[in-house]
């Protein structure tokens, strides 16, 4: 079945404690290539039938209203993906 992926990230200007905790631990594990980390959410919505424009519009609206908190988060991506093998 086709899926729609919705990616939500903390707004850039907002403190991201998750990312902060990770970025602090990376060098201790020898991962030194990264200067910043931000942690967001990825949702995969399974669509029963075909992904019509209407369905995509629903996904976009759900992304803005339910899946993200517009006060502190941005929806950075809504896209249809092929089924995972």
């Amino acid at each position: 079945m086709p899926r729609i992926v919705v990616d939500v990230m903390p707004k850039p200007e907002i403190l991201d404690p998750q990312g902060k905790a990770i970025v602090g631990s990376l060098p201790r594990l020898g991962f030194t290539a990264f200067s910043g980390v931000r942690q967001g959410k990825r949702f995969e919505l399974t669509v029963d039938g075909e992904v019509t424009d209407a369905v995509l519009a629903q996904a976009r609206e759900a992304a803005e209203t339910l899946l993200s908190n517009p006060v502190i988060e941005d929806v950075v991506n809504v896209e249809v993906v092929a089924d995972r093998p």
């Binding site: 404690p17 998750q18 905790a21 990770i22 631990s25 201790r28 942690q39």
Partner: protein, 251 residues
């Protein structure tokens, strides 16, 4: 500052054990919350609590280790995910797997750290109801042969404190069947499964019985009046168990 307010030598110890020489390490990570409580439980059981710092690389001469609850590194990534890589954890993993079989108890966040460290199988995900839950919880002691449970009767029901956000124990069916088959389910929730854990599992042990992890908090049920309403001290047995184990074993 004078000695930290809430710790003090406790006037009376609850057991008459002669094991006051036993030294039990209590690990503190950034974000650990229940370290002082675990140390108190160790003292009440009659042993000496030894502070272990996550960043240190030596276990000193401790006879056993408690990894207490809390939110190490905020638990932001996954509970226990970052703490698992602490230098002290490297020492603990080595000692637990060594021939000496260092007794290790992981409580709540400590249990999560033990699964992240692969000392215990499975993992924890969010409670099925998605809320933090704090309550008095009845458990059944399923395995009373481990280093941390030998003072309980098999099948005994105890009431201790449960408090967590990510307490739903999960593992694949094969692992679960193995755990059951080998008697490695140490505790099960009784009456109500508070987080959706597979097969009502509240705690497990490794095959050798020296590493035990559970979500509920025995260290919050060691003093009458400061834990669950009715019984209050059902958790003390964890700490007297390890002392008995040390006496009966290599000590």
């Amino acid at each position: 500052m004078t000695e930290t307010p809430l710790i003090g030598a406790v006037s009376s110890t609850a057991t008459g054990t002669p094991l006051t020489g036993a030294r039990i390490g209590v690990v503190t990570f950034p974000g650990t919350l229940d370290d002082r409580d675990a140390a108190r439980a160790v003292r009440l059981a009659g042993a000496t609590a030894v502070d272990l710092w996550h960043g240190d690389t030596s276990l000193g001469d401790v006879d056993a280790v408690v990894i207490p609850g809390g939110f190490s590194y905020g638990d932001y990534l996954r509970a226990g995910a970052i703490a698992r890589f602490a230098p002290m954890m490297g020492q603990i993993i080595k000692a637990a797997n060594s021939d000496a079989r260092l007794p290790v108890l992981g409580i709540c966040n400590g249990f999560q750290i033990l699964t992240e460290s692969h000392l215990l199988p499975g993992s924890m995900v969010k409670n099925d109801h998605l809320k933090f839950i704090c309550r008095e919880q009845v458990l059944r002691v399923e395995n009373n042969t481990t280093a941390w449970t030998n003072q309980y009767a098999a099948g005994e029901q105890i009431t201790i404190v449960l408090k967590n956000q990510d307490g739903q124990y999960v593992a694949d069916e094969k692992t679960l069947d193995e755990l059951e088959g080998e008697g490695r389910v140490a505790f099960r929730y009784v009456g109500w499964n508070p987080n959706g854990s597979r097969r009502d599992i509240a705690g497990i042990t490794n095959a050798a019985g020296n590493v035990v992890g559970l979500m509920p908090h025995p260290e919050h049920a060691v003093e009458p009046g400061f834990g669950p309403d009715h019984t209050g001290t059902d958790g003390l047995g964890f700490f007297t168990s390890v002392l008995a184990h040390l006496v009966g074993g290599k000590k």
